[in-house]
Amino acid sequence: MTALTQSVPARNERRYQFSWADAGPFLALAALLALGFLVNPDFLSATNLSNVITRSAYVAIIAVGATFVISSGGLDLSVGSMVAFIAGITIMFMNMMAPSLGLWAIPAGMAIAVVTGLLCGLANGVIVTVGKIEPFIATLGTMGIFRALITYMTNGGTIPIDRSLREAYRPVYFGTLGGIPIPILISAIVAVLGAFVLYKTKYGRKCAAVGANEDVARYSGISVIKTRTVAYVIQGVCVAVAAICYVPRLGAATPTTGQLWELQVITAVVIGGTALRGGKGRIWGTIAGAVILELIANLMVLSDFVSEYLVAAVQGVIIIIAMLVQRFSK
């Protein structure tokens, strides 16, 4: 009997093997940069690239959260209006506190932003998991709700941040640290944290398991409800961080803030290689996806090829081609 149990030494795991599928988004990014340079050499100028990457920071930060939601088998269409709602709440709170707290109103407001984001995410999560409603519909509903709330709060207009806070808060978007724009740093931190949680922690495992096969997760003692709800909460916090970076950019929240960001976010996640049906998330691909989207928009303006009317068409075509290239480079 003992002879039977002798196992053949299994081949060594090749842990750092190169995968074309994983490299796809980065290759697409490189191709786009090359194309950009051909179209307009200014494209690769430091200012332009830094502008573009800084701009992509919001979508990137939110998309890190979306990677959790999507890999756990969910979807969140409400993130765009959630940004607006959180930005509105934050500005109102900061303005209210400015007289008494002075500049301390800014960190206080940031804390409120995070708490609001957390609660919004929790609401989404609970409706989806406990309410057992298709994520698409549930978050389409909350999308309408958040959008309506910010419209209500602003009376359809604008909530500008108090003049006394504006200058102090500005650097969060416009400042640099060691030459790197702050939003880029923040999104890098969010991505590193996201990658750590998704790839290195037990929660990340649970998230992927729930997305891959709910039954297996349940039979393995993983709470599907808790895991997926936490993914939505992470999404909410990421949205809050994005809102915190967003507010100083234009210093105001309006009912149009964050419109259609949800589509950009989902596109970034999918271009990054995460499957919409769940089970596998790719944080770094997501970041590449967010940058790709912003680069395409930038390229449209910097090139003179297309009529202003057709910009959206060319963007659509480029995204489809990028996805095709990724598919068939496998």
Binding site: M1, A212, S220, G221
Partner: protein, 523 residues
């Protein structure tokens, strides 16, 4: 190797003379490689009409791969198929089907969101005046299922029916059309006595009609009863083809593993105590189980026997919070509440599902994460997953449970059925439970590994755990259990131990008064 070689030449030298009948299907020198891994190499086989040809081999020997190859699901990397002397090449399963080759899969391959009838007729719906003829399809489906002795309504969603019923649906699907070759890949793995008998009868009927049958099973008794010829595969290579009736089960086992085998069932150990570990009172699972009470003792192997649909799986899923149900549960005399699998695992009760593909393993995931999934909390204290520990545990599990794989980087779905089962066992035991409930522990496991698993189960009770084994193989229960509870129609119909623990007694308890109880109506 040498033993097998000796057996080959000494006792079962192939006849070698010309075949009296032309083969309906012939595989010539077929091989299959995945990347650099060779799964099947140079297999040549003739399948004659009206012949039952069994293919046996250890888990991972390449049986399913060979069958998929014959029926167009995958293409060989080398070699070719011919039918009635004509070269054929199948790139899709429906081409093989059109040529008269039907495969009953080892895995259940049905669309869960559709009804039984829809699944039976998928891709070949009957129409009347351009419209699908639902009424007729339902009638035919019901008739076919009745012929197989399967009671599920033809209109039920596959999602709602049990694994065994799904298997019957799958068989019905294969038998719906007239075929020249029917391939069964472990059809009886999820079936119990009655269904198996019914299926064997049908296979003999096929044979009588001149249809060729390829039959894969780890149940060597079935092979012995059915097979005209037996082909043995080992590590993807042919060991040989032998006349069926001359081969004893011991011979078959020897040929499969290539060396001498110890006894299948281990000597029973007297580890049983009178100290109840898990007590269940008045368990109710709406629609399946009514008022079941029992207790499992420390150091005891407690069996649960019953016909298909007796509700054994549902009983334990209900107790463990995996489906709605109520029960009063005591562990070591202390009442506990279990509302989810997590709470059960935390309390030290582990359940190994019978549906390893659907509920047991993440097929797209690598082995390490699969292994530790249930034990995340205890295995990785703190926040972070310890990869090195995980790799180590995997290495250990692979050697302890003799999981055969080509690479540690493989995904669970790439393991053969039997090895998946062993991985699942390793996964559940990693939580270090005190009560282990194993649903169908040896479903799809070859004879050598079965013996090993029985050994593992004995190790468990020797460590003072209680072990509950649900099985549809009565012989297996009798072979390893200290005591067996028999269920029928959602209730306990009796208990056997010691002298009374015989297959016939269990069969009686599992079936008698069946009609009477059914009148009472569960649902």
């Amino acid at each position: 190797m040498s033993i097998a070689a000796r057996i080959d030449t000494d006792r079962f030298a192939a006849p070698g003379d010309a075949l009296p009948v032309a083969p309906v299907l012939r595989a010539e020198g077929v091989s299959k490689q995945y990347g650099t891994v060779t799964v099947l190499s140079d297999v040549t086989l003739d399948i004659l009409p009206g012949e039952i040809h069994a293919v046996i081999g250890e888990n991972g020997a390449g049986k399913s791969t060979f069958m998929r190859l014959l029926s167009g699901y995958i293409e060989p990397t080398q070699g070719a198929l011919s039918m009635a002397g004509q070269r054929v090449r199948f790139t899709r399963p429906d081409q093989a089907q059109a040529a008269g080759i039907a495969l009953v899969h080892q895995e259940i391959l049905l669309a869960e969101a559709l009804t039984v009838t829809d699944n039976l007729f998928l891709g070949r719906e009957l129409t009347k005046g351009g419209m699908v003829d639902d009424a007729r399809m339902r009638r035919l489906a019901a008739a076919k299922l009745a012929e197989l002795g399967c009671e599920v309504p033809a209109t039920a969603l596959v999602h709602d029916i049990s694994l065994a019923d799904r298997q019957m649906v799958q068989i019905a699907r294969a038998l719906l059309d007239e075929h020249r070759v029917v391939i069964f890949d472990e059809p009886t793995a999820v079936l119990t006595g009655g269904e198996i008998e019914r299926l064997l009868a049908i296979i003999f009927e096929l044979k009588a009609r001149g249809i060729a049958v390829l039959y894969i099973s780890h149940r060597l008794d079935e092979v012995q009863r059915l097979a005209d010829k037996v082909t043995v595969l080992r590590d993807g290579k042919m060991v040989g083809t032998y006349p069926g009736h001359t081969l004893s089960q011991i011979d078959m086992a020897r040929l499969m593993v290539g060396r001498e085998l110890a006894a299948l069932y281990p000597q029973k150990q007297a580890t049983r105590t009178n100290q109840p570990m898990l007590s269940v009172l008045n368990a109710m699972v709406p629609g399946f189980v009514r008022d079941v009470s029992f207790s499992a003792h420390k150091g005891e192997i407690l069996g649960f026997a019953g016909m298909i649909g007796a509700g054994r799986t549902e009983l334990f899923e209900g107790i463990l919070g995996l489906r709605p149900g109520t029960a009063t549960v005591e562990l070591n005399g202390a009442p506990i509440r279990i509302r989810s699998q997590r709470e059960a695992l935390d309390a030290g009760i582990a359940y190994l599902t019978e549906d390893r593909k659907g509920k047991g393993l993440l097929l797209q995931e690598r082995l390490g994460p699969n292994l530790t999934l249930s034990a995340l909390a205890s295995f990785h204290p703190g926040l972070v997953v310890k990869r090195a520990r995980e790799a180590e545990a995997l290495g250990q599990a692979v050697s302890t449970y003799d999981i055969r794989l080509k690479s540690l980087g493989a995904r669970a779905g790439q393991l053969s059925g039997g090895n998946q089962q062993k991985l699942l066992l390793a996964k559940v035991l990693l939580t270090d439970p005190s009560v282990v409930i194993i649903d169908e522990p040896t479903r799809g496991i070859d004879i050598a590994n079965k013996a090993q698993i029985y050994g593992f189960i004995q190790d468990l009770v020797r460590q003072g755990k209680a072990c509950i084994v649900i099985s549809s193989e009565m012989q297996e229960l009798v072979g390893i259990c200290d005591r067996i509870i028999v269920m029928r129609e959602g209730r306990i119909s009796g208990e056997v131990s010691g002298e009374t623990m015989t297959e016939s007694q269990i069969a009686l308890l599992a079936t008698s008064e069946r009609a009477h109880v059914a009148q009472g109506g569960m649902k």
